[in-house]
Symmetry: C2
Subunit: 156 residues, 2 copies
DNA sequence: ATATGAAACTTTAAGCTTGAAATAATTCAC
DNA sequence: GTGAATTATTTCAAGCTTAAAGTTTCATAT
């Protein structure tokens, strides 16, 4: 999967395979770097950051199922991450009157402050790690990725 | 991190942030789909597939450290995955005469056959999932990703 | 020869991840 | 209104992942 150098395959369809391999290697490389910095600088993790980022954009809160759908991870996964964030005082669950199966999850005041700091650093890191990509290329690449995704997404 | 729809941020540097988010969402979406199919069709996992793919390209075998470097994962990680592949008879470790710290890891006959089958299906899936990307765009995107990566890689 | 350090690998603890099974609450058909 | 599906969430087992600590082996400088 994460193939790299070596006997460059050729033939029909190989271009897409190569694209996928590059895509995967690029995101894994960046992810690894972010994970390391989040740990070193803020003693946190990428999954926690993802959850907080989602909640930061939704001051009114999110349901667990909204979170898992948005983050593209399983339900049970989110449960665990939120549990940990709650125990750290960064996130709170609020039972709802309407539907007692659900609970609104939101950042605490402390969580909001903490996230703002981390997010600023994060944006700087991305700027650094993708620094060699021109703003122009960035926009072009983004466009390609967006359209490709919307094409096959929502199949099943 | 995996932000998506909603209040499109703007400002300097935001284009690269947006690019990163798209990149991550694209690869996670495809990865999830591949993982699911590997499980359903072949009862295996993405990490096992990755290791087997690496070994398939190296009939003479690879050291554990080669594997972990190539796959961009930690040493301990590879140990576990290889352990499982060995217990399934798909991979073999061979002690070396020269250096008794190391062992050459390679696919067994059974592993080679199994991988060939899975790899064929895998390539088809990629063709399907990235089908809407023209071969031309695929090559262009690949080029962009390659150059961006080689730029900041090998920093530390 | 022998310490000293480096290298290759494994082990461990903690956390992330999934898919499936279990719980609980709601909705809907009758 | 009762029972049957549906929905939201949690729990669970198995496996993946990392960073750090530990083991064994090798290289090298005395």
């Amino acid at each position: 999967m994460v193939a790299g150098p070596l006997p460059a395959p050729s033939g029909p369809g190989k271009d897409r395979l190569r694209l996928w391999i590059r895509l995967l290697r690029a995101s894994r490389t960046i992810e690894a770097e972010l994970r390391e910095r989040l740990k070193k600088e803020f003693n946190t993790t990428l999954p926690r950051f993802d959850v907080m980022a989602a909640l930061y954009r939704a001051p009114e809160g999110m349901l667990m199922s909204d979170l898992s759908r948005f983050l593209l991870v399983s339900n049970g996964n989110v449960t665990g991450i939120v549990d940990r964030l709650v125990s750290e005082g960064l996130v709170a669950r609020a039972r709802r009157n309407g539907d007692r199966r659900t609970s609104m999850v939101r950042l605490t005041e402390e969580g909001t402050q903490a996230f703002a700091t981390i997010a600023a650093a994060h944006e700087g890191w991305i700027g650094e790690l993708l620094g060699k990509v021109s703003e122009d290329d960035a926009r072009r690449l983004t466009g390609m990725l967006t359209s490709f995704r919307s094409n096959w997404e929502g199949r099943e």
